[in-house]
Every structure is written in C-alpha cells, then in structure tokens.
Homo-oligomer: 514 residues x 2
C-alpha cells in the first residue's frame, strides 16, 4: 500500500464519500488511488473556487465533510475565496493539497510556492505529511479536526514522493470530541433573562437553525414570547410552512437597527451580535441598541442543540408546541418584471423540500421574506461576503441531496466569479435551477458609493460598476457549458421557466433582466 | 485632499497609466479618486485572476508597472494564481488592496481576513497604510520597490478610513535603484569560459531576451559560436526574422536532457539551470549533463544588459553582426487538422509585430518552433506553471500595445480558469485573437499519469482528466461575453479564421477541435 492509497483508505474508513477535485501532476498518485480503491464519488470542477464552494454546500446539507483535491499552491489559492466563506460557515472540510516531492523543493521549480502560508488563515488544522507511514494517521487526525464542532477546515499537504512511496498504513478516524455544553450558570442566567419579561431576541447559528435545534428554539421562543433571529450571513436555515418563525437580520445597517431597536435583550447561540459589514464615515457599525443586554447561551463550538435543550429544561417547559409558519404562498404573479414580483414568483412555485443557494445581493433581497410561507425547504446563504459562491454551493448541495430540487439565486456580477460551476452541474446532471438576475451593474457598489456620500460617479467610476457594454448573455454562457437556458422577459415567463426548471431532471438556467 | 486622492496622485506622478480593477465597497474612495483626479485608464475585469494576469502582460510589454485595485482578502486571493506567475516573470506591479476601516476590524465582520498573510508570499514589498498623511509616501515607496530590478510585486493595503480621511500628501516616486553590474571577476571568468572552445550555451532571462539585451547576446553568441537558450518558462522573447536565434529548453525533461547533452558549459544570465517542473520516481530532475560547468554571468536582479555589454567588451568584440533568423515561413497548410499542421498554420499567417500569449501545453507545443522564421514578433509564456494565464496576459499586452495584434493560444482546460478575460477584451475592443485548442481533456495530466508508470486510468481517474461530457462550446462562451467566434474543422478554416482575427479591430475566438 503506498501513501496515497493509505490516504484514500483512511478517508473512506472515516465516511468521506465525495471528493470535489481539480487535480494536477503532483496529485496523480492520489487520483490513481481514488480510481482503484475507493467508491468515493469524484466530482471534477473546472476551477478551484467551484471545488471549495461545492465542498461547503455539501457539508451544509450532508452534515459531514467532503474532501477536496487541489493542485499545489496556486490551485489551492484559487479556492481561497470560497474557503473564506466556508470558514465563516463553520463547515467541516478536508482539503488534500498536492506538493512537489520533498527532495524536489530545493530546485524551486516554477510551481513551487508556500502552500502552508496560503492554507494557514482558514485551516483550523494544517499539516504537511512528513512520512509515508504517517499519511493515514495524518488523514485520520485531519478528519477528526474537520468534524470537531462547530465544523472546521482541515488541510493536509501531501508531497508527491510521500504519496507514491510504499509503506502506507490506513489510519483510524475515531469520533470527534463531543461539543461541550455551556456551564449551568450560563444556562441559568439566560433562563432568568427569558423570565424577566424584557423584550428579547435569540440569535441562532449553526445547527440551531435546523433540525432538532431549531425545533427546541421554536418551543422556547413560543413559550417565552421571544423572537428568533438568524444572522444575515447564516449557513443554513430550515424554514417554510411548519417551521419555527425566524427573521433574518437585514444586510443594510439602517434596516438592521430598525429591526433590533425593540429588543432589550439579545441571546447569542453560536452567533455574534449584528454589526454592519462595512464601516461608513461617521456611523456606528453596531446594530443593537445601546441599552440592549447581550448574553451568550453558547459560544461558537459549544453544543448549541444541547444548550437549547438544557435551557428548555431550566425554564421548566413541557408540552409546548412552537408557533409555526403557516402555508401561505402568493399566487403566481403576471405582467412586467418588478423586484416584488420576482420574489412573489419564486414564492409561488418553490417546491417542497427545495434547497435555495442564495447570493442575490440586491435584486433578490426580497425573496427570502416572500418564501417564508412556502412548503418546507432549506436556505443557504453567503456566510463570508465573498461573492461567487451560489453556483458552487448549489453544486455541493445537489451532490449531497440528489433527489431534492436546488434553486440557485445569483446575479450577473457575482455569477461571473465561478461560472465554471455550470459545467459540473451539466456533467453530473444535477437538479439545479440557476436564476441570474441580470442588472448589468455591481449594484451593491453603486449603492455603497451613494451611501458613502461620495456623490454621482463620473464615467471612470461608472466604468468600474457597470457590467454592461457588452451585456453578458447568460444563455450563451450556459449553453457553452451544456446547461439549457431561457430568458424571462415577464413574470409569467419567469414563473413558467422556474416550474420547468424544478420539473427537470438536470440543470437549467434562467436569465432575468432586472 | 483625502488619502485616496493622495494615493492616486502619487501613482499618476510616478507614471502609472493603467489600473486593472475589480473593486468592492472598501475601495470606493479610491474609485472616486480615480474617477475625479486621474487620467488613468481603468480596466474592469470580472474576476481578479484576470486583473493580476493582465497587469503581468501589461508590464511585460510596457516595461513599467500597472496598478491593480482589489477587494479585501478574498478578492486578493482570487488573484494569487496569476500573481504566482507574475512573481516568476519578475515583472513590476503595484497592488492596491482595500481593507476595512481600522476601527472596524475589531468586529471581525464577515469579510475580515488576514490580507497580509495572502500577500506576503508574492509581494517583495508589502505595507499596510497606517496614516492618511503617509499614503502618498507609502505609494511612492511601493512604486519604487516595484520598479526595482528585475521587477517586483509591491502590495499596499489601504484601510478605508485612512483612504477617506482628509490630510493626504502626494508622494514623490523617485528613481528605482540602478541594477548592479556583476563583478569584474565574474565577467572575466565567463569571458575565459567563452574563449575556451568548449561547447557552451547561454541561458537568458528577463530583459536579456529582447531589445538591446538580446542583440548584445546575439553578437556574443555569433562571435564565440555559442548557443543562446531561453528557459521554458520565459517572460518575453523578441523573435522572428532578424532576431538572434534563441532555442527554448523543452518542457518534457527527456527532451531537455537531449537538447542540453552537447553542452560542456552553461552561462546563466538571470536564469536558473534547467530542472524538470516535477519530480518523477527514480528520475533525476536536473536536465544539464553531470559534467557541464554552470556559471553565472548575472544573478536575478543584476543588470543583465549591462553585464552582456561588459562581457562583449571583455571579449574584445567589435563590428560583429549577429546571426539572425531568416524570414522563412511555411505556406498556409490545408486539409485535416494535425498538430504540425496547426503549427504551420499559425506560422503561415502570424503578422509582423504580433504579440503571442501562449499557454498551449500540449496541442500548441510545436507552434513556437514553427514561428521562428515569421516576421518580427514577441512571445509571452507562462512563467509559473499556473494555468489560466493566457487570456489575461493577452488582455494586458493588448492594453499596453493597442496597435499590435495579439494572438492568444490556450486550451479548453486552461482557458476555463480565467475565461472572464474575454469580456474585458470585448469591452475594450482589444485586438486579441484567441485560439482554443479543444482536446476535451487535461492532456498534460493524462501524459503525466502515464509517465509516472501508474498505468491506464480507470473510469474514476478518467472522470478527472476528461473535460468532455459535456464538451465545452467555446463559441457560445465567447458569444456570452461579446466576442465573435468561429470553429475551425480543417487547417484551411483555421488559417482563414486566423487571418480574419488578425485583420479585425476587436477580439475574436477560434475553437479548434484537436
């Protein structure tokens, strides 16, 4: 058994079932081992930002890590922007990055680079294999690190000679350490706050936003007349009819302040208190009122679900039914395209069990609220603010949940960063319906320029915001990668195209001029 | 004058004429300053890998730095792969990277990251501005660092509040330090080697491969019966009829060994002795014969042209005419597509004064040799081995030399990494003819797998090499970004499409199925 084989055997033994890959020469022995030994599903992506974004989407839905296979420093670097997002999503992920043979590094050949320097910022666990006999153990430890709450990025750098040499030993990935419960004092203290009668919100994160975590939070909120909130950059929410009611903190600072002004108490469950993404001259970034008491039920990495169960017990709650969203969706709108109309259109047809991968920053901002009364579905957001995540995220979610329809909401600006994801959707026949809101501008920048009080942009600034001239033709881009597309010029057409997309067995794309 | 204005004024004063940009919120004041104050040409790119690759291509042709404008850590990270190549090309470049307001960083908002950690590996000069009064000075120092021989990457991180505050002072970029001449002893020693009569090659790099540097090298080579060589990963060569004869060291290790075996002496001018890009089990990476004496005329960063002039003087050469390439191009080939036919086709029509941006790793490998007798032209190669450079490089070269036709040679695999460059070609109406060799496979990987002796790939490995299923349709991809395209199914059609491309005022794309 060579090193590469022990690596693959260890990952397989640890339950890693999918490898998102863009390998190169230095990873050939890992490719060969994947080929011969494993039943791992290997998903080729034509750009590394797709690889890491897909691994993120997979982990959010599968609740376990995929591995990635990346080529040296530059290949890894191409994946960094979506690793940034994955790091903020706190998902588990194991990156396998090839390196030159150890004895080759001295030559400083063209592709030599400091892989560890690039990997360090987002890798909670980082190791470069030093011996063939240890790759298996390294991979097992990396896998445990990835699975450690709340979910971490682990990166293993694998020199080619260590991979190709004989002497590999399969590692045994044990269980990740159990996430710790918060102290009794913390739980009691939060229970007292909830009993106080002061207007309170609970800001949820991680696995408190879906499954049993969200159900417990819902019961607590209903019993104590407390508001459940999600941060704007949440990783995943289970929502729609039957789910507890959760409001999202808005992206624009002024709207967040307006939403939060009623609360005298804010309880954090793995989350941070809301702050504006960016500073603006003369404005405070903090969105909570000055007299709002902020307390932590569970710190990031603690057991959110356990903490909520303990809180429920401390409150002495029994037999509570949480107040649930009611099934309440608009009828399909018709006529000219408007932003509220687009939101209603999505809400009118979103299928039960859908997964929405959403980075529509401006045109699609109303869709999340409009869809709250849809049949049960999951929503995935951009956690790190680095654009170019929606299509890769949709790839990963669709690989994790092949029977569920995936709706990908993006725009012409953000979509261009990682459009290569469309090809992987086509190759794998993924059930992803991608909507491109084509506003022909980096609209968020135009708004920011105005909100910074800089005034009207001149021609040189406009040249840097406006994506038109030439307009991107997304039907052609999709066709170029094997994804059928259509253009919606009215709400009727948009609804029809969405329906068609959700009914398709494979991917489709809809360009909407807004 | 605010900080952003002092930054822009300083760069303008220092002769920076072009900004390749993909800005975000944190760079809005720099955008506003570029808008109001400068005549700088701002070139929007829809992905940061295009930004950095274009700045590289610009610098290779303009022989001076462009600046880039990038958004925070993730935006900078997206540019790293082509910064890797630029770093190996040793070109001058000034990166301006926005950062959150200094007082905002404490909130660790979603887009916060360690920009300096990403910037450090490739930035020979790196600074984060600490005061508005100092941005001008910082920019001036960064610009001098970028211009320091042989050409360096300088990165300036600009916090938003430091940019928007009043109190900026325009800096005064002085001259970069003159590159040092090698010692007299070194020059004398090399002169003795050249007089010895042993079979000798001179491996040139940087500005010794074009202009007066290459002419001097040509005279020395002719007078001493020495062979001129370029490394496989060269930044720029001036070649074609009338230029000194320079052979390129081949990429495949065995071919490099074959080429170099006749030489008993190798003189390095800013270059490193040839070594295989990758290690292979049981094979030595060094390509020079064991008994070949390797000597350095000029180390990287020394004055290559001055060193060659001094060497010429030390050899007592006067009135030498270098042996030049003769105008000798094939007639346009016809018939079915073959690799030699493709090479002959390009060579038959390459126009005088063309610039070729080349990263065709497999299908196009014969073109460089075939074009040696074409009219004078420049050739730009991938210096760092990170693929996805050709189209961005072509953008930069075309912005630097708007009147010259640019030929971009890439493939379906490599082209996909940075295909967004096509949009910038369309927007700016750049005279770039892009050729996509569509072999539907990461061919270099298939070859490597075989050369590593791993044997025939099974289905899972093939899935990771083969780009087909679905085939990429580059005509549609180009159309989606506003670039007219055609498909060549024969050599006749390829020649015709090339001619048409070279005659066009704007960009075009040719897909060639190989």
């Amino acid at each position: 058994m060579n090193g590469a084989e022990s690596l693959v055997n260890t990952l397989t033994a640890g339950g890693v079932a999918v490898c998102f890959a863009n390998p190169g020469t230095s990873e050939m022995h890992v490719v060969a081992a994947l080929d011969r030994l494993s039943k791992m599903e290997c998903v080729l992506c034509l750009f590394e930002g797709v690889v890491t974004g897909a691994a993120d989407g997979y982990a959010r839905m599968a609740e376990k890590p995929a591995c990635t296979l990346l080529h040296l420093g530059p290949g890894f670097a191409n994946g960094l922007a979506n690793l940034h997002n994955a790091s903020r999503a706190q998902v588990p992920m194991v990156n396998i990055v090839g390196q030159h043979a150890t004895y080759h590094l001295v030559h400083d050949t063209p592709l030599t680079s400091d892989i560890a320097a690039f990997a360090r910022p987002y890798s909670k666990w980082l190791r470069s294999c030093e011996a063939t006999t240890e790759i298996g153990r390294d991979a097992a430890e990396g896998l445990i690190a990835a699975r450690t709450a709340p979910g971490q990025i682990a990166t293993l750098i694998v020199p080619a000679d260590i991979a190709w040499s004989e002497g590999g030993v399969t590692g045994h990935p044990g269980h990740a350490p159990k996430a710790a419960l918060p102290s009794k004092e913390k739980i009691e203290s939060v229970a007292r706050m909830l009993r106080s009668g002061a207007r309170t919100a609970i800001l949820l994160s991680g696995d408190a936003l879906y499954g049993s975590g969200l159900a417990t939070a819902g019961r607590i909120a209903t019993a104590t007349n407390t508001k459940l909130l999600a941060p704007y950059p949440f990783a995943r929410i289970e929502r729609g009819a039957g789910a507890p009611i959760v409001d999202r903190v808005p992206y624009p600072r002024d709207q967040a302040i307006e939403q939060l002004k009623e609360f005298r108490q804010l309880i954090l469950v793995g989350a941070r208190a809301p702050v504006a993404y960016f500073a603006h001259p003369g404005k405070d970034a903090v969105a909570t009122p000055a007299d709002c008491k902020i307390a932590t039920l569970a710190d990031p990495g603690e057991d959110y679900r356990g903490a909520l169960v303990a809180l429920e017990a401390a409150l002495g709650l029994h037999g509570i039914q949480y107040e649930a969203e009611k099934l309440d969706r608009p009828v399909a709108p018709t006529g000219s395209i408007t932003l509220p109309g687009l939101a209603a259109a999505v809400a009118s047809v979103l299928p039960e069990n859908a997964i929405v991968a959403d980075e529509s920053m401006t045109s699609g901002r109303g869709i999340f609220a409009a869809a709250r009364g849809c049949p049960p579905h999951d929503w995935l957001a951009c956690t790190g603010g680095s654009i170019g995540i929606a299509m890769p995220l949709a790839v990963g979610a669709a690989v994790a949940c092949p029977s569920r329809p995936v709706l990908c909401l993006t725009a012409d600006g953000s979509g261009m960063y990682t459009l290569q994801a469309l090809w992987t959707m086509a190759r794998k026949g993924l059930r992803v319906t991608t909507v491109i809101f084509a506003n022909r501008v980096y609209e968020v920048l135009r708004r920011e320029l105005s909100s910074l009080g800089i005034g009207n942009p001149g021609p040189r600034a406009s040249e840097m915001f406006v994506i038109g001239n030439p307009d991107l033709d997304w039907l052609s881009l999709a066709k170029g990668m094997g994804v059928p597309g259509s253009r919606a010029n009215s709400l009727d057409e948009f609804v029809k195209a969405l329906r068609h997309g959700f009914e398709s067995e494979g991917p489709s794309l809809i360009e909407v001029a807004v």
